[in-house]
C-alpha cells in the first residue's frame, strides 16, 4: 500500500493537480486525489490476479480453447471496469449523491453508526474491523446476487456475466456498466450504513475483487472440504456458472452457490450445491454473436436484453428476453 501511495502522490502532483489548477477545478483536488487510488489499486489487483492465477490456468485448466476471442473481450472488460469507466462513474457521480444523502440525514439528526461505535473494542483493531466490513458487505453481496437472478430485468443485465462459455480469471469484470453501477450503489450504501469511510472502501473492494478473480479462474482446483466451506473456490463458483442452470432444479431463479466470498450464506439459506464436478459454463439459451462479440457490442446487447425484459414487465404478451423467463 505504501508503494501505491507513493505512485498516487507522484501522478497527482505532476500530472493531475496542474491540470485541475489550469481548468479551475482545485475544489476537486482532494476528491480526485482519493479517487486516483481506485485505478491504481485496480492495476495492483490485475497484476496480482494475473501473476497468481494465470499460472494456475496454465497448470490445470478445466477447459482448453483454440479460439480465445471471447477471453480477449473479458480482458477489455477488466481494463475498462477496473481502471477507467466504472471507477470514474462511481466516484464522480455516486460519491456526491452519497454525500448529499449522508448530509441530509445528519442535518436532520441521524448520524450513521460506525461499527466501532456498536462494538467499541474494534476501535483498537483496524484489521478485525476490516474483516467485519468484509463479512457484512459479503452478506449484502449474496442477496444482491440472489436478486440479480430472481428479477427478470436484473437478470437481463446479469446474463452478460453468465453468457461467457470461456470463463477465466478475467471474467469477474464481465458485467454491464448499469449492473456495475447498481452493484456499487448497493455495496456503497451498505458500506455507508455501517460506517466504512470512503478511504477504506477501495481496500475492502480490492479484497473482494481478488477472491472473485480467483473464483472465476479456469482451473481444476477446489479448497477441499474445510477450505471450501470457508472461502468460495473456483470449483464452487463454476457450479454457479454451470450451463445446467437453465434447467431444473438449478434454473435461473433458484440457482445455487450465490456466495461471493463466504459459502456460509449458501449453507444458511439452502442454496449450496457441493459436487466435485467441473461443468461447462454459460447460459443454454444464449450463444452465437450476441455472446462471442466485442465489448461495445456486448454492452449494447445488454441494453437490448434489458429493454426486452422491461417491455415484458409492462406488457406480458410481449416476447421478452428469452433467457429471462426459462420456466415459461
Amino acid at each position: 500500500m505504501h508503494l501505491i501511495g507513493q505512485v498516487q502522490g507522484i501522478v497527482f502532483e505532476n500530472a493531475i493537480e496542474p491540470a485541475l489548477y489550469q481548468f479551475g477545478l482545485m475544489d476537486w483536488a482532494e476528491t480526485i486525489f482519493d479517487g486516483l487510488e481506485i485505478p491504481l489499486l485496480g492495476v495492483l489487483a490485475i497484476g496480482v490476479a494475473y501473476l497468481l492465477f494465470r499460472p494456475l490456468e496454465l497448470w490445470r485448466p478445466v477447459e482448453r480453447w483454440a479460439e480465445r476471442r471471447a477471453v480477449r473481450t473479458d480482458i477489455v472488460y477488466t481494463i475498462v471496469h477496473k481502471l477507467g469507466l466504472v471507477p470514474a462513474i462511481i466516484f464522480l457521480m455516486l460519491t456526491p449523491i452519497g454525500a448529499t444523502i449522508d448530509g441530509y440525514l445528519r442535518f436532520h439528526g441521524y448520524i450513521p453508526p460506525a461499527i466501532e461505535q456498536m462494538l467499541p473494542p474494534l476501535g483498537a483493531w483496524p484489521f478485525v474491523t476490516f474483516l467485519v466490513y468484509v463479512i457484512v458487505i459479503d452478506f449484502g453481496e449474496y442477496w444482491r446476487h440472489r436478486l440479480q437472478h430472481r428479477l427478470p430485468w436484473w437478470w437481463a443485465l446479469h446474463s452478460l456475466h453468465h453468457d461467457q462459455r470461456q470463463m477465466t480469471l478475467w471474467s469477474d469484470d464481465r458485467n454491464h456498466v448499469v449492473d456495475d453501477v447498481l452493484a456499487a450503489m448497493w455495496s456503497g450504501t451498505i458500506a455507508m450504513l455501517i460506517g466504512v469511510t470512503p478511504g477504506e472502501f477501495p481496500l475492502v473492494m480490492i479484497a473482494f475483487r481478488l477472491i472473485e478473480s480467483l473464483s472465476h479462474t479456469n482451473v481444476r482446483v477446489g479448497f477441499g472440504r474445510v477450505g471450501g466451506a470457508v472461502l468460495v473456490d473456483p470449483q464452487y463458483h463454476r457450479l454457479h456458472h454451470s450451463i445446467e442452470h437453465a434447467r431444473a432444479p438449478y434454473d435461473r431463479a433458484r440457482g445455487c452457490n450465490f456466495a461471493v466470498i463466504l459459502p456460509v450464506w449458501d449453507a444458511i439459506f439452502r442454496t449450496r450445491r457441493r459436487e466435485r464436478v467441473f461443468l461447462p459454463t454459460g447460459v443454454a439459451a444464449l450463444d452465437g454473436q450476441a455472446v462471442h462479440c466485442g465489448y461495445l457490442a456486448h454492452q449494447l446487447e445488454g441494453f437490448r436484453r434489458l429493454g426486452a425484459a422491461l417491455a415484458k414487465l409492462i406488457n406480458r404478451r410481449r416476447p421478452g428476453f428469452a433467457a429471462a423467463f426459462p420456466a415459461e
Binding site: 502532483e13 493537480e17 482545485m26 483536488a29 460506525a114 476501535g123 478511504g199
Partner: protein, 324 residues
C-alpha cells in the same frame, strides 16, 4: 434557530473504550515528555503520527478515528482538540498527560476554531455544506447554517463578533454575525478560496487556491482591498512565533511564501514540494514543519535559511499538524 442542543459525551461511552484509549494513547503520553514532539493527522489513514522532534523519526502511529483533518488547542491551552470529520466527534487530549479526556459529539467537524474571546466555537462541514456555531463553554449548538458549497477555513474578527468562512466550492467568502447567525456579507475573492487569516490591521486574508494570490478583505464589508501574489494554489497561513512573518503554503507550486506580517510584502520563498498544506512552528521558532498531502510526508524547514532539514514519512494525506 431552534435547533436542539448537541449532546455532550463528557467521558468515554464505555469502560472498554476507556481502556483502549488509555493503551492507544500511552505512546502519545510518553511522547509528550520529549523536548519537541510533533503530532500529524493522517486524514486518509484515520491515524495520528507521533514524531520525535529531535531525531525526526515517527515513533508511533495510532488509529485515532475517522478522517481526522484539523486540530487546535483550547483557549485555556489545556486540551488539544482533534476534529474527526467522518467520526462525528471532537477528541480532547489532555496536553500534559497525552490521554484522551473527553469526546464531544459534533456532526462532521472539518475545520474548527475558537473566537478570540473564547466565547464561540465554529465547526465547518466541508463535505456536507454546513457551518455550525456553538457556545464554546457548553458546546451547545447555537446556529446551524447551510453554506453551499464546501465551507472550509475560518477566521474571526478581532472583536469576536464575526466569523469569516471560505466557501471552497465557489469563489466567495462569507461573513457571519456570531450572535445572531445572520449573514453579514458574501464577497467574491477568486476561485476556490481556502486558508483564512486575520492580519495585524484586523483585515481578513484569504488564500485563493484556484489562483496564485492571497486577497485582503475589509472585515466590515467584504470588499477586496488588494491582491498579493504568492504562488500557484495559495492555500494556508501560519505566523512566525514572534509575529513578524506570515507564511503562505502554495499547494500547486510546492512552495511556501514568506511575507512581512505588517506590510504583507513577499520577502522570501521556500521550496516545499508534495502539496504543502498546514504549517506549524517548533516551540523555539527555529523550524517550520509543513505537511505534504500528496507525498504522505512532513518537511522540516530551517526558518532562518529556508533549508530543508528533514523529510519524515507519515500516513496517507497528512493534514493538520501540532508541535509541543
Amino acid at each position: 434557530m431552534g435547533n436542539p442542543p448537541v449532546p455532550i459525551d463528557p467521558v468515554f461511552p464505555s469502560r472498554t473504550l476507556r481502556c483502549i484509549a488509555a493503551v492507544a494513547l500511552f505512546v502519545l503520553g510518553a511522547a509528550t515528555a520529549s523536548a519537541k514532539t510533533a503530532i500529524v493527522l493522517n486524514s486518509d489513514d484515520d491515524s495520528l503520527s507521533v514524531i520525535d522532534g529531535d531525531t525526526y523519526k515517527e515513533t508511533s502511529r495510532v488509529h485515532i478515528g475517522r478522517a481526522p483533518h484539523h486540530l487546535m488547542l483550547t483557549p485555556d491551552q489545556r486540551y488539544l482538540i482533534i476534529a474527526m470529520s467522518e467520526g462525528n466527534e471532537l477528541v480532547f487530549i489532555d496536553r500534559t498527560t497525552g490521554v484522551i479526556a473527553k469526546r464531544v459529539e459534533v456532526s462532521d467537524p472539518y475545520q474548527i476554531g475558537f473566537s478570540p474571546d473564547g466565547k464561540w466555537f465554529v465547526s465547518n462541514s466541508l463535505r456536507l455544506d454546513r457551518i455550525d456555531i456553538f457556545d464554546a463553554a457548553t458546546f451547545e449548538l447555537k446556529h446551524r447554517l447551510p453554506a453551499p458549497t464546501m465551507p472550509s477555513h475560518i477566521a474571526f474578527s478581532t472583536d469576536s463578533k464575526s466569523v469569516f468562512v471560505s466557501l471552497q466550492g465557489t469563489d466567495k467568502v462569507v461573513g457571519i454575525d456570531l450572535a445572531s447567525g445572520a449573514t453579514e456579507w458574501t464577497a467574491p475573492v477568486g476561485r476556490q478560496p481556502a486558508g483564512m487569516w486575520t492580519d495585524k490591521a484586523g483585515n481578513i486574508l484569504v488564500a485563493v487556491m484556484g489562483s496564485d494570490y492571497i486577497a485582503e478583505l475589509d472585515p466590515k464589508t467584504g470588499d477586496v482591498l488588494r491582491h498579493i501574489v504568492t504562488g500557484r494554489g495559495a492555500h494556508n497561513f501560519q505566523a512566525s512565533p514572534d509575529g513578524k512573518q506570515l507564511y503562505v503554503s502554495n499547494r500547486v507550486a510546492g512552495t511556501v511564501s514568506v511575507l512581512d506580517a505588517g506590510t504583507l510584502a513577499v520577502t522570501g520563498l521556500i521550496m516545499a514540494p508534495g502539496g504543502p498544506d498546514d504549517m506549524m512552528f517548533s516551540p523555539d521558532g527555529s523550524q517550520l514543519w509543513v505537511t505534504g498531502r500528496w507525498r504522505a510526508s512532513v518537511d522540516v524547514i530551517e526558518a532562518a535559511s529556508g533549508a530543508l532539514k528533514a523529510t519524515i514519512a507519515v500516513g496517507r494525506s497528512p493534514h493538520g499538524i501540532f508541535l509541543y
